[in-house]
């Protein structure tokens, strides 16, 4: 099944128009008192969820928006926000 993603400006588009931007890890950590461990967590570390995860996307071949959405990594399909996610 081919991936489609819903851009907040352009709507539902072919997945190949987008660049994956990584797992959503919350806001960038404050640089005051930032430890190498915290920075490494933010930059490199992933949960590698087999299931639904919140993630960043960039509409590279479109309007240039950065946005986050939910995708099921087992079926590679965009899904609605699950109830148990904050």
């Amino acid at each position: 099944m081919a991936l489609t993603l819903t851009c907040p400006i352009c709507g539902k588009r072919n997945g190949y128009e987008f660049r994956y931007g990584g797992e959503d890890k919350g806001p960038r950590p404050d640089e005051n008192g930032l430890t190498p461990e915290d920075w490494c967590n933010y930059v490199h570390m992933n949960k590698c969820t087999a299931g639904v995860q919140k993630e960043w996307w960039f509409h590279r071949d479109g309007c240039g928006s950065w946005f986050s959405t939910y995708r099921d990594t087992i079926h590679n399909l965009e899904v609605d926000k699950p109830e148990d996610h904050q």
Binding site: Y16, H44, N46, C48, N76
Partner: protein, 408 residues
């Protein structure tokens, strides 16, 4: 014999016990190799290999079977050299034909920048006693007459890196041979047994829950290929610098012999070899987003046909016969994570191999077994610790030739 009960190739199926000296989660090549060396070299025979599906279900049977030792850095090359040198040794020792076809690897270069990068990679290989040479386009054409060295293709060929010690190993044979070797030394292999939790007390591993009951054990290795990172986060809350992507591969219909080497091209994102059956086995594109589908996409089948028929024009019109996908657990520095007793005593991990899991399994098994048996990290594995990421000591493997395109 209509109602015979199938018996595993490697021996009699035993019941899962409640106590083992070591439990290995995953039944692929790294897991089987580690169990084999634990029993053979370290006398640890009370070992269970726990596999959710069947042994060889994952990357072990989905890779394109290429082996080589011409990586980029001084840490990786000796490791892969040892892994490569072990194929003929294991063939004898396991008394099982692993069908090592020592045909050599030809890595095509498509720009002067790539040729320069190849010179550096070759210098590293030669320094570590690994045979590797730079050849020009004409020499490459002499070796592979089907090669298109015309200047009129998308990425004209400038030359190649020729690595004679590499080649192809029959990956299923390695699974079966290691499984028999494990069983001969008393290791238990439990298929259709899913690990569901790793138990700890304080900072020590105490056991594993499985779909067939609980096990007490002081040592657990997670070596489940592309599934490792997800398992480790889910069971222990340890995050890893890994992204799991489907990587696609395919074979053509069988043809008369035309390719006597493994030929690969970073710029075309394409590699090919001819199997002993005559099929052209080729890959591989990685999906541009993480996923666990292991499915092929029309997008990349088309790409594969286009690029393959560009540099091997005699394949135009040939059909793909089978397609499949596997998982690659990629790290930011293209090098694996082999670590243990940090942050939990008795917890070991062997993951992050990306698309290098097959060619490394023999040496990884040997050294992970030493690590688990002695509790001391062997020198060979020290650079591959997890803490290198927070210490900003990422390895230089990303400078490998696959990154060099005509744009460099």
């Amino acid at each position: 014999m209509m109602f015979f009960k199938p018996k595993p190739l490697w021996g009699k199926q035993t019941r899962l016990k409640s106590n083992y000296d070591a439990v290995i989660i995953g039944g692929g090549l790294h897991a089987l190799a580690t169990a084999y060396y634990l029993a053979r070299d370290h006398g640890l025979t009370n070992v269970a290999v726990i596999e959710k599906h069947y042994i060889g279900f994952g990357g072990a049977g989905r890779n394109t079977a290429i082996v080589r030792a011409n990586q980029r850095t001084q840490y990786n090359v000796p490791f892969y050299k040892e892994a490569l040198d072990l194929w003929p040794v294991l063939t004898k020792e396991l008394n099982f034909n692993l069908m090592f076809n020592n045909c050599g690897n030809l890595n095509l270069m498509h720009s002067e920048a790539a040729m320069k990068a190849a010179r550096m990679t070759i210098a590293t290989a030669q320094f570590h006693g690994v045979e590797s040479h730079l050849i020009d386009a004409k020499e490459a054409k002499e070796m592979v007459p089907a090669l298109n060295i015309s200047k009129d293709i998308t990425f004209p060929i400038h030359g190649a890196m020729y690595h004679p010690p590499g080649g192809i190993v029959r990956h299923d044979a390695v699974v079966w041979g290691l499984a028999k070797g494990c069983a001969r030394h008393g290791v238990e292999i439990h298929q259709q047994t899913e690990a569901t939790a790793i138990h700890t007390q304080g900072s020590k591993v105490t056991g594993v829950s499985t779909s067939r009951g609980s096990i007490h054990t002081p040592r657990v290795l997670v070596s489940a290929g592309g599934y490792s990172a997800g398992i480790i986060y889910q069971m222990l809350g340890i995050k890893l610098p890994i992204s799991v992507l489907t990587i696609q591969a395919m074979v053509t219909q069988p043809l008369k012999p035309l390719l006597n080497h493994v030929v690969s091209s970073g710029a075309y994102h394409c590699y090919a070899n001819q199997t002993l059956k005559g099929e052209i086995a080729t890959g591989a594109h990685m999906d541009p987003w993480p996923n666990y589908t292991t499915q092929n996409t029309a997008h990349y089948i088309k790409h594969q046909a286009e690029s393959l028929s560009d540099w091997l024009p005699c394949l135009r019109g040939v059909r793909f016969m089978r397609i499949w996908g596997g998982l690659a657990d990629m790290t930011p520095d293209m090098a694996p994570i082999l670590d243990g007793n940090d942050p939990l005593d008795g917890f070991y991990m062997d993951c992050g191999w990306g698309y290098f899991g097959f060619k490394s399994c023999t040496a990884a098994g040997k050294y992970m077994a030493e690590y688990m048996a002695t509790e001391n990290c062997p020198g060979m594995l020290k650079p591959f610790n997890l803490r290198r990421y927070q210490n900003h000591q990422l390895m230089g493997e990303t400078a490998a030739l696959v990154s060099y395109t005509p744009d460099n």
